[in-house]
């Protein structure tokens, strides 16, 4: 029998250990992506797998369930209560699904991902169909087990991993609203864009060492302190590390500095969120960031809302020009701004602008629901993909590698992941609008290259709250209302049609 008064403390000790294991995994992942020599891959995989197993043993120790049962909420303050709520969520996520099902799913995903890489290269969806069927079957099985454990619908149960607390019914309202808004809005934006004179591309080459220096300056401008952060290079940009030691990455293209720049600003937005997590709770579940939707809202707020604004680009243009020895009209701030907000409907999600990006997400969210519930069989996916693309953006991919083969997510088992991207973009607009209303100095300061008023507001209203609230509650606490697309649509109207 466990001493009731010690139950909470014992839980904190166990979750602190889990947290530190995750931190160690994080550095091993970072090293793997940034510096590890190629032949170290297999040993690194074994290291990461073993740390995961140790973590799994800790969270599935039957004593955790006892301790969660023993905890007396009336003896706890609000942060501790929220901490226990998050512990329960993490515990449920790890304990809902039998270990052999997790292993089978993980193996199927690893196998499918490898086949998918070939299939995409060969534009051959049929070749990946059998392994994808297996991933879907096991994903559905996991979803069903979790749904019954968590008393949620199948899709909500899968969503719980990425956007805890969010429900597909609410999400569908938001996404459908945008789907209704998009076609005529997009027509008007494209019409107007065509009437204007063409956007000019600054001419490179832009030497990587100069880009590196510039990107460091930009990250510092947003608020990153390189005594407790690093900026390195990797195939795919990402943000890792811990609040005291942020590790962000980008990649450099000698012909176009904008890719590296937008990646650095995006990842710095993620890092600033992590760095603002409540110091007293950092090793505990309640001290973590509030899921993918809020995380993406913070990166997109910096990248899309702020750093593609006229104010920011007006400030940045002379600095970019000087750092990269630019010359001519392409470097004028008006042109750089128009380049940053150029709209170009296309087949590829990761290349999409902020207006058409949600269409890519709506498509995927609709189709993955249909596949999970059996309304869409996998062999019909390519056709359904192309039909939905035509419906939403008026274009049809000529081949599957530009269609249903483009993203790793489904093949790698990440079902329920996609909505977070667009919900994050919508939340970013809602949060940024509120911040500006609360402090009218925020945007003028950005025009001076000063992010402090913005970051102070975000720290107080989002970052430092960790998981004290659910994502919905946090948005309501910060903006006065639940997530809805009005701010996002207003932002697009203002940026693209005013």
């Amino acid at each position: 029998m466990i001493d009731v008064s010690d139950a909470y403390e014992s839980l904190e000790r166990r979750f602190r250990r889990l947290d530190i294991l995750k931190q160690a995994e994080g550095i091993l992942h970072w090293d793997q992506s940034v510096f590890m020599p190629s032949k170290g891959a297999s040993a690194r995989g074994a290291q990461l797998a073993e740390l995961k197993v140790i973590g799994h043993e800790i969270i599935t120790d039957p004593e955790i369930e006892c301790l969660l049962g023993e905890v007396d909420p009336t003896a706890l303050d609000s942060w501790q209560q929220a901490n226990v709520r998050e512990m329960r969520r993490i515990w449920a996520d790890a304990n809902a699904v039998p270990a052999d099902l997790v292993v089978a799913h993980s193996k199927a995903c690893t196998a499918c991902e490898a086949v998918w890489r070939e299939a995409r290269a060969n534009n051959d969806f049929a070749s990946v169909l059998p392994t994808l069927e297996e991933v879907l079957r096991l994903t559905r099985e996991i979803g069903e087990v979790k749904a019954s454990f968590l008393k949620l619908s199948l899709y909500d149960a899968l969503l719980e991993k990425y956007a805890p607390g969010m429900r597909i019914d609410d999400i569908t309202l938001v996404l459908n609203d945008y789907a209704d808004f998009l076609p005529s809005f997009l027509d008007r934006v494209l019409e107007r864009q065509e009437r204007e004179h063409p956007v000019l591309a600054p001419m490179g080459p832009f030497p990587v060492d100069r880009q590196r220096k510039l990107m460091r300056q930009l990250a510092e401008t947003v608020g990153l302190d390189f005594q407790s952060a690093r900026l390195d290079e990797s195939l795919h940009p990402f943000s890792g590390g811990i609040p005291e030691d942020s590790r962000i990455t980008t990649r450099y293209d000698e012909d176009d500095f904008a890719d590296a720049m937008m990646a650095v600003l995006h990842e710095t937005g993620h890092a600033m969120y992590e760095r603002g997590r409540p110091a007293a709770w950092r090793g505990q579940p309640v001290g973590h960031s509030r899921g993918m939707v809020i995380h993406e809202s913070q990166s997109l707020l910096v990248e899309m809302q702020v750093c593609r604004s006229q104010e920011f680009i007006g400030w940045a243009a002379p600095m970019l020009k000087a750092s990269l020895s630019g010359e001519g009209p392409a470097w004028e701030s008006k042109n750089l701004y128009r380049r940053a907000i150029h709209v170009n409907p296309g087949f590829i999600r990761v290349d999409a602008d902020e207006i058409t990006y949600p269409a890519h997400i709506i498509l995927r969210t609709r189709l993955e629901q249909a596949m999970l519930c059996g309304d869409l069989v996998l062999r019909d996916l390519p056709g359904a993909w192309n039909d939905t693309m035509q419906e939403l953006l008026g274009i049809t991919p000529s081949e599957d590698r530009c269609g249903c083969l483009q993203d790793i997510h489904w093949y790698d088992g990440a079902w329920g992941y996609f909505p977070s991207y667009t919900l994050g973009a919508i939340a970013a607009a809602q949060i940024f609008e509120t911040a500006q209303t609360a402090n009218s100095d925020i945007l003028p300061s950005i025009a001076d290259g000063n992010f402090k008023p913005l970051m102070d507001w975000l720290l107080k209203n989002i970052h430092s709250l960790g998981c004290l609230y659910t994502a919905d509650e946090l948005l309501e606490h910060a903006t006065g209302r639940p997530l809805d697309p009005t701010s996002f649509k207003a932002h697009l109207q203002k940026r693209y049609l005013c």
Copy 2:
């Protein structure tokens, strides 16, 4: 009750996990020394401490003792039997000392190290005396507990951590033999050196990026493959990582490339040993390197025996000259060779040449034994240091920062560590002599920049044997006799007086 037939397998599983935890710690250490931003230090300390605690819980789990008792050696092959012997050794090392004593010692060392840094800077031995007394007291206490647990003398029990299986009585014979040999030999070498015309120093500056490229080439020449290795920079050069992913470091001085070069060759020697560990046993105790003496023998074999030889420098000189755009007589191979073997008795161990280095070790080994058994009280250490220095090398430090304050080891609790350095140098000579006798092609190949015959021999006779034998047995297996200083003395005679 544990199933006897599974006992061995269960032990292997537990030690594999310990090994992987150590691998993860290794990368975190490497990152800390090479890339971590300064403000990440405290969080990194917490990560490393937690991984250590997890490892400690695994090795002190009472089930390990049961399993070690259950194992049936007659059912095991020779590698498995050696594996169990090493498991017992690691288990005894971790379980001999009560956890609270380990913690008290570790805290005292951390405190003393900080005071020592100040004391060394201020040349003030008295200020570190009280904290060093505490370190010595707890070190002695640990030594006594281990001595009774392992049935060894106090000093041998401490030695066990660094040079397992080696005994101070044997070591003393070797060191005293050298102490007798040194004075008249050194006189003759210095006399001869003075008669020759002065050594010329190649003039820099040597740009760091060119040195970096050169050091990579040299490491590759020895045998490092950069698809499974990295060479980076850190304050103190070291060798880390795993066989599939070696991580060596050096530091660059724009005025002198020799420091970086000798550090890289030394660390590559360490790395080659690790890379040659038996592949089938790498995750197990028996698959590890055979302690510090053998490890140091491999780095010193490469650095001292091979890379300060006329043969190697004859090959390297034109390459160094071309890589660093050198000009003039300083770059002639004869001059570079004389520079590499220049003898200069001094106060500082880490700057010592190969002839006088053992004197620094003999001094420390004698004094630490005297302090541990109480024959020398700490307040008399400075005087005893200076007297012994005078006796061995005929020089007396003018201040304690060049004397008993110079090394971190005692202040950081590493008592029993020093002998390994010189035993490694002596073993290197014995091993290299045997290798050349076995394959007369080894030295001529070095003169062509070809290390393969040497590395093949080392792989077969040292590296690939892991911990199948004890260090003494390994030396006897490889060279036909136990460790003795005859090869080392013969090497010095040949290099410095022929």
